[in-house]
Amino acid sequence: MPVNAEVEGRTYPPTPPYVVSRAKIRELAEAVGATDPVHTDLEAARSKGYADVVAPPTFLVSVAQQGEAQAILDPEAGIDFSRLVHGEQRFVHHRPAVAGDEITATTRIDRVRQAGGHSMVTMVTEIADGQAAPLCTATSVVVIRGGE
């Protein structure tokens, strides 16, 4: 079943607020081998001008994917999650995320295209802080493999 191209352009509601925590930053940093002290040492982060410890460059994917989940689960989109493969990921950081940021993610289906029996869905997620200032634009392309 190809993905329904009519959902292109659809925007989903913002996710509930998520608070970036020092503990979660530390866990993610340790999981990807990120040893820069700005992730775990408050003094090191402050000495470089950050308000608190800094999230690693790919940290926000989990928040972005909370937004994307609404698109993926939209019954009108017809996305078969069991055939979904992550094809591409991009982050544009408008400023680094730091512990204490309270953020929301708003996902838009930017593009749906069919190629070679597969569907490619591009989702753009705007992550903003509590003052609605942009923090990060996360773009992902997922491939929904066609039936064999």
Binding site: E27, P56, P57, V61, P96
Partner: protein, 138 residues
């Protein structure tokens, strides 16, 4: 990293990322991505994969550390994009190695920015393509 010390063609110190099953369990917990293809061999092989595979986002997150170590400040990674081109199977015995290298592709001196291209391979195959990090320099 100062602007003056960054040159097009400059090679960054490479590194080998060793991945064990435990690395994937740790990443699953840290990221909240509990898809069983990343930790349950029976499930992974039942859906046609050769073995448990690493999270693409694990590879993306680990690979950029080559850039962060060179840059000296993770908060100066302004943009980072990759295409996932091949999975990284992680066998129970011995795990897997991902070889990561990087080279400066372009420098925008007035804007104090540079673009670094990352290469990540496993068993000779590229696992990330079009992997580009835009960084801010001092």
């Amino acid at each position: 990293m100062t602007q003056a010390s960054v040159e097009v063609g400059q090679q960054l110190p490479p590194r080998t990322v060793h991945v064990e099953r435990s690395s994937l369990v740790r990443y699953a917990g840290a990221s909240g991505d509990f898809n069983p293809i990343h930790w349950d061999e029976r499930f992974a092989t039942a859906v046609g994969l050769p073995d448990v595979i690493a999270h693409g986002m694990f590879t993306m997150g680990a690979a950029v550390q080559v850039v962060v170590d060179w840059l000296g400040d993770a908060g100066k990674v302004l943009e980072y994009a990759v295409r996932f081109s091949a999975p990284v199977p992680v066998p129970h015995d011995g795990g897997a190695d991902i070889e990561v290298s990087a080279v400066v592709k372009s420098v925008d001196a007035p804007a104090r920015r540079a673009v670094v291209e990352i290469t990540a391979t496993h068993a000779g195959a590229k696992v990330l393509t079009r992997a580009l990090a835009t960084v801010a320099t001092d």
